[in-house]
Amino acid sequence: MQAVNIIPMFVIVPLAGAFLNSLVEKKAKWVPDAIGNLSAFILFFFSVLAVQVVRTHGTLVYSVGAWKLPLGIAMVLDGLTAFMLVTVNFIAFMIALYSINYMERFTAKGKFYTLFLLMLTGMNGVIVTGDIFNLFVFLEIASVASYALVAFGTEKHELEAAFKYAVMSTVGSMFVLLGIVLLYGLTSTLNMADMANMLAQKGAANLVLMVSVLFIMGLGLKAALVPFHAWLPDAHPSAPAPISAMLSGILIKSLGVYAMVRIFYNVIGMTAELSSIIMFLGTLSMVVGVFLAIGQWDLKRLLAYHSISQIGYVFLGIGLGTPLGILGGIFHLFNHSVFKSLLFLNSGAIEYSAGTRDLQKMGGLMSKMPVTGSTNLIASMSIAGIPPFNGFWSKLIIIIAAVQAQRFGYAFWAVVASVLTLASFMKVMKYAYFGRLKEGLMSIKEVPFFMKLSMVVLSVVCLIGGMLLIPSLRDIFLNRASDVIALGVNYAAIVLKEVSLSW
């Protein structure tokens, strides 16, 4: 098999899995579990393979349906793509494992896995595509699947949250589409590399600035940047725990952060104003999110607000635009995926065993649920940036990069947000896991095997995640991704060279 053929697999495998699943889900009880987990595992395997492919072959371009590029739809595999694929598919695999036990609580497990795989299709599609309209299509696939998943419990508040989410997210999508249309009108191409070339030739125009605003709003809404964030604290807690983990852990990153970074850095080209805006919004999200989070008593809502705050760090890092800042930003993106999914899975474990997500109704769970408690402690330390857990390293790099870029104010707020993050997770630990066991919780048990397994694996990654900074590992994984971002619009030249080589 030629190396380039790995690229479409990231869309084909989950899409095929989703359809197959909806056909045969009724055959036996284990079928949806098997299909969902197998697809997720294959994707994870391919994504690791993709890292290796990028290492040996560099950037690769695949043309869908063998149409001549740039007319046909291109799929591009480069360092950033491979990095995002590993992040998304690793978390998705862990969540699929967790769902084996967790989704027993719901009646329609088959439908769950179908939607899960569709969402995965959308996310992987957004990541691998090299065509800006195709990006929008995949964005919508993932979004629509996620509306349905938020409403999965079909309780009143879940439907309400899903409705709000659907309305706001659609508004965002429309602005993205409008931006794409305007760009198409300006450049007469949809291929992102080609478009970047055209834009570079035409030079700066007011139209491009306007499109930038549309993208900041539309994609910023998907990424939950303040002030476009308001749907998130309703939508993320309402979904079943594995889906909350998926939404907070990877969906907002692949649809929001990745798409924004790819378009702004590699297609439109980053300017000083845009970068200031992104940094400012990032810092604003960081601070507003954490101040909102600390007062919450609903565990999942608290976690959802922290997603807003942590995404702020990612944007601050990437917005700095220096190699160090970008490295910190994408590393934080990876780390946040790991620890935030873990935290949501922990909250799901509590809901599974103790039947509540109200912190005031919990207490002393450490003694009854030691695995959940310990993994939650590790994840809390990670998100709070306590050494040597992974979150520490990425925050460290972001703060150093901010100071290095003489953005002292942003560095200061990053530290303040970090302190408040620690405080709010200390609150979680105190009310949920330590203290006295509440009366009604005497008979609860630790969660079943697969839930424990995925939580433990994620917590191990939190623990040793810092090792990704070891130079030899960093060169393979993180640096390749940050290099692509740092390339800026030169991305076009590399992709187009690859295109001309293959034809």
């Binding site: 600390i294 050494p387 560095a411 405080a423």
Partner: protein, 554 residues
Amino acid sequence: MMDFIGQSYGFFRSDPLSSFIGMFVVFFSVLTVIYSIGFMRGKKGLVRYYIYILLTIAASLGVVFANHLIVLMIFWGVLGLLLYLLIGFGENERVSYTAKKTFIIIGGTDAFMLLGAAFIWYLSGTFDMDKLSIALDNKIAVYAYLCLAVGAFAKAGAMPFHSWVPDTAEDAPTPVTAFLPASLDKLLGIYFLARISLDVFQMNGAMNVFLMVVGSVTIVAAVMMALIQHDFKRLLGYHAVSQVGYMVLGIGTGNPIGIAGGLFHMLNHAIYKSCLFFSGGAVEKKAGTTDLEKLGGLVKVMPVTFMTFFVASLSISGVPPFNGFASKWMVYQGVIESGKSGGHLWIVWLIAAMLGSALTLASFMKLIHAIFLGQPSRERKITDERIQETGLTMLAPSIVLAALCIAFGIFAYSGPLKAFIFPAVQGVVFSGVWQAGLATVLILIGIVLGLVIYLLGSAAKTREAEVFMGGEILKDIPDMRISGAEFYNTVQDIGVLKFMYRLAQEKAFDIYEVGTKVTFGFNKVLRSLHNGVLSTYLSWCLLGMIVLFWILLG
């Protein structure tokens, strides 16, 4: 640009200062482990407890010998986490609150240290502490120093980051308190403060004054709080804060004798404060309470514990010839020395330090009276037979430490100073006459004289009788005695102090409580904006977009 992550050598170093601290880290660790064998017997989760203790030792040594700032910070952060976990072994209701508060303060200041490290990288491009010597001549350097100093203050428990120490002292298991807040955290916090003040930065006059202000305020304010405490572990916790003031003051003087005094005081403090906690823990273990109201008269049943506690009390109060005196004396000399460079502020620091010392003595008079002397409370008399001397594993560490209190006091110059402190701090010159031998002889004469007077006085026999008033025995007030716990409660009624104590009661000086109030204020405002109405949220999006259009196109 990125080589700060990838260096494979030069992460650690050992110099006289770090090896001296490292040695005592191990020394206190050994004593704590021995003591824990007795104290923690029969408690749950002992395997985890000892694992945490061992990890703490390893992490502390990592801090002491680290040369690379980030490596140091990793060990430093791990120590905070371990302290959090160790406090969790406490058994009362409040312990989860205390653990949370402690870790928020410690972990929060660690985050500021990160910022400090980032500033250092910005200024110098290296994290190797032996290569650093940054002049405090620009704003960024000052911020960097303050950020790092904040971490050291919080770890050591200097004001305004002190409020976790008394809480931890009250709620954590006693060996943990003796181990971390009382000895190891002091050693490490002051070590780091000394390291940044001596090596990493070149101190200037203003920064020295800042340190001396922090030191003096800490000394006096904490000892004032200690005076009115009812729980002896909490009282000791406040003294653990107060004594940090001397160390910060000593380092703040900026001259060799003061710095050496500060470091020596750090060592001495770790010795006598561990001894106090160890002895106090023995009392707690046997009497089952730490409330001064319920204790009293224990000297008869726990004579050895009393002796060790007494020696350590005299040390902490700075009574010659014990070690606390030797180091405080050096700090005073340092303060006087600092006055030679001009200004009259040194008088204020000196008065604060001496006042603190006097008040410490006063507070320990109360403590010794309330625990060991005085009359036992009625409540306790019932279970009196069970109260006896503790086992050897709990006694031995206290005895060793009490012996060190005396030895380091009498042989201060030829012993610890020469062996540990002088190699670390060059150029110490004593300005006064230093003859420990003579002083000791004089003091011994004094003690003998005192004994003679006491014996003469006790020749006249006293008579014991039931408490009565107006001819009637008071049955309604069962505990009619002087427990001593309220000796100094009247200080709360003095003018300005009354106001200050009231503020302290409302926790206006507790950075944690103040921070909580501010945070939840912001929280309330932001929450009222999130009303759950879709059209509001959509209008924010549009508003945001309009602002962006205005910025980019306007």
